[in-house]
Symmetry: D2
Subunit: 314 residues, 4 copies
């Protein structure tokens, strides 16, 4: 029997809540519902255990990981499964680049450090990466901060024989993949796009932060589409009632034969943190295998799961 992957996690938000609860769900049910890859390099979806967790919120620090994931502003729902205490108290995390050695020391025995804090704190991200490197623990950066895209840093991981995987996870299923699929389908069938829009609404803390900085996100949404030419992205809407659900409304207006109209309206409803967890479960297993088999640096099999792998623009 394979030895479970030992994971330390930075950030105890909704995505971590979905990951922690979901792993318990799969361990208890043996179900494979919603799972893309039941096994990666011998690791099943339940072959994960948490060994450390870092956060900065005073309310979460000191709580067991399985308790901290339900504290506000987290609002991912409580899944219908048992959740025994992890025996992992949340530890005070880094806020800058001091304390690297303390973190490194506490990573002893871990296979992977999953960096799942909010995007936009590059100094902290790099500090955690350095801690992981020193501890010989594979580092997975799920945020849009440039870590694996830093060639100098990647070189140091490679030299140390430690995996470095990132940056920025793609959701398992979200607005971008859906919109892009529909745009491609129209093009493939010879239809001429006239106009298209997407509206994204959500109720997580993440959404609230993005609303404060809309232009970046809007551009990134357009970048995710193969044909952004006639596509408009409406401002993100932060609607607290939605909780951890995201709702997207898409419209595509096109012309077919002799200019006659083709019209598509779509509503998507999905739990954002689930989309992250469904990809993190794969990144963790890829990173663990790379680490255990001594493959330092970037693991190319992660590329389809990432928006900005090494070599893409910073």
């Amino acid at each position: 029997m394979i030895e479970r992957v030992k994971v330390a996690v930075v950030g105890v938000g909704n995505n971590t809540s979905a990951l922690v609860q979901g792993i318990a769900y799969y361990q208890q049910t043996g179900s494979l519902v919603g799972i893309s890859r039941p096994e990666i390099d011998g690791f099943g979806v339940g072959d994960i255990e948490f060994v450390a967790a870092f956060a900065t919120s005073p309310e979460k620090i000191g709580k067991d990981l399985t308790e901290a994931i339900f504290l506000p502003p987290n609002n991912f729902p409580r899944l219908d499964c048992e959740l025994p205490a992890a025996g992992v108290p949340v530890t005070a995390g880094l806020v800058d680049d001091s304390g690297i050695d303390r973190v490194a020391a506490s990573l002893t025995g871990a296979d992977v450090l999953l960096y799942s804090a909010p995007s936009g704190r590059p100094v902290t991200a790099l500090a955690y990466a350095e801690a992981a490197r020193r501890a010989g623990v594979a580092f997975v950066n799920t945020t849009s901060d440039a870590v694996a895209r830093d060639p100098e840093l990647l070189g140091r991981f490679t030299a140390a024989g430690v995996p470095l995987i990132g940056d920025d996870l793609t959701s398992q299923f979200g607005t971008s993949v859906l919109h892009d699929t529909l745009l491609r389908l129209l093009a493939e069938r010879g239809l001429t796009l006239v106009s298209s829009y997407q509206v994204n609404l959500g109720g997580t803390e993440d959404f609230r932060n993005l609303v404060a900085n809309p232009n970046t996100k809007k551009q990134s949404k357009l970048n995710a589409l193969s044909t952004a030419d006639k596509v408009e992205v409406a401002p993100l809407g932060y609607l607290p009632h939605l909780g951890s659900q995201k709702v997207a409304h898409l419209n595509l207006e096109a012309q077919g034969w002799a200019g006659t109209s083709v019209s598509l309206d779509v509503k998507l409803k999905v739990h954002d943190p689930s989309g992250a967890a469904g990809v993190n479960i794969d990144l963790i297993r890829i990173a663990a295998n790379a680490n255990r088999t001594g493959r330092g640096g970037y693991a190319t099999e992660a590329t389809t799961l990432l928006k900005s792998p090494p070599g893409t623009a910073v």
Copy 2:
């Protein structure tokens, strides 16, 4: 400059209306809107002219083709383009297998006979095919009647050096291709389908006929999907107000990570006859080229445009 394809057409319904008007539209505008393949074997979308037309409705017989296409129950809209008289009066068509030689005689000079009558009249379909074979005119069967799937008949076309293309055209863009794309996308992303439905509503004569014979169509709708397992097809709805527009409502309910829900609702609105014309324009050009280059029998480049090419079940 290439010599235009000379087309005779059987059936003067909505699909023929869309085809005739659309060709005039493309000739006048030079536009390529809604066109999948601007050129096939040197033929542009405007390089078509009609040389004969057959119908059985007394109101249509004797009228110029460009006039007959607007007679009820046809309800494809009048497009915004000039439509000069074709100089092609609609001729009394076959109702069984007598009159083959008369039809064959009137096909002189044609490249292609496009069989665009309602499905469900196999004897008549085969009679027209035989007329085409005798006249050395390529036969295109857009209906679900088994013509190109008849190995004995296909053998005779091959022996005679006359192209035979069919059966049953796929629409350029319709419910099946959209539903299938979404089902595949969910599967590809690892989501687990819980349930899905499609409802199709339309206002054409074609819809009215299908409503009278719903089970066949329902099964054919399911056959068009890669995963029909959890998919339900509601009864077709004949709603005259829709005219030649088809409306489809699709729903897909799935489970993602740890069973959390993913929900997709789609409304599609499209002109059914446009979807047929957008494919007929390609079948005609393929057939014309095969005929002019002396390739008898089936032309394999038509396969992606057909639901039931030779070799599939009758």
Copy 3:
């Protein structure tokens, strides 16, 4: 404290399941969610108890009411509340007009007999009504069979001082009320309706039966609208995956100022049996009060809850 209403029920289908479970839910939670009228004549929504139940399905007969409501083909979901055994075994019900005295005898002590069997069995409906009359128990007919509309029968109830309430309950919230509200709103604002449709999809046994007899239902759907002129009702779709949920798609196309277009698309999702229970809870209380205060015959305060009260067409 008021003495609880003692209810006997005919039919142990989804509507009875919703009613029985819901009453337990309201008794336990004290909640008033989804309740139109918290109190009617002093009766709260929890002031109901079941004293007898009749059914014809062999699987249900002999089971406790709280167990029988979950047997197939019932598919109303199990609500999240305790459901202690009612101590009411399901009794073999009538299948024609024999056995009236047996039923009457078993109604001793009941205030109300709620007739909640499938529509379309008028002989049986009348037999139960007669049993109720003989036992002095108020009769509530929730089906479209003509009972309260039978003047002779109503006369006998009135003479006996026994309440008779019916026929055919209106749902608390369904397609008809929604569609009608939107049609009225457009008219009120001066818009001109061009066309409108509704599609109803459901997964209950009730839906399955209606699909077998579509024309009646279609006409009844149109009757429920103030302006049926340009409204089309698509065939009902029986989609088992929906369970006890009903989905309706509505579309309204109108013209505003100078003929410019106004377009409305609506999706409604609702539990059909909940819509029935939300009205039955009121009918029961009205009937009980009428009976206890000695008001025989029809109780006019029930009229807004019924599609076909006395005096309407049979």
Copy 4:
């Protein structure tokens, strides 16, 4: 035969375009499509003529009114009707409170001055009102600037026997009236609202301005609803492709019997300027009648057409 209402208009934007074209449409067709009140005080919808127009955009000044209404950024579509030149050149309008006498002089012979400039220029609005008062012309303020709500000003109009009608027109059909109707319907049927949202998307200059000042509009949207308690309004989206069409997505989640879910999703598509014109046609006729019958000050019959009539908060 009644003497046509002579209207001067301030602002040559989309709303004026819809009004001018629509009146021509009704005059030519005799149609009453989309019309709430065919006749008001003897005036039909075609009994209007334009006698003066004021604008500040250099491109519009000097052009005939029927030409200026199609200049960018206007994007209300060209309706399918003849539009003979009005013989009314657009005149340079006011930008502050100088030039009042010049405007008053040019109003000679007019019945009504329709103030249809963008909201947010109170000084100019009041200057035009004063010009109208001096010229004895009824003033209709369709903007949200406080004019008719100014008691001192209203007093002066009353004293002068000149009508003053405002402020802020309600659209003939828009998101607010639809959302409010649905919220009321749920409440009326006893359902318990859980959450609701609305998203508004549009492509007019008006939308672009509102996006720049979102909070005011959001609050005003909430004010328009009877129950704003659980309703969230997403940020307005300026999507140029929509042109003068507005699209709104509404969602209402409620609980029915025993907390079971009721869900409503709505898409509305409507031309914003049509909604304004459909109300302006009534305001103009009310104002003309008040003026011709010597009723100075506010005309109470306008109240249902206004968001902020006299006496409401400024």
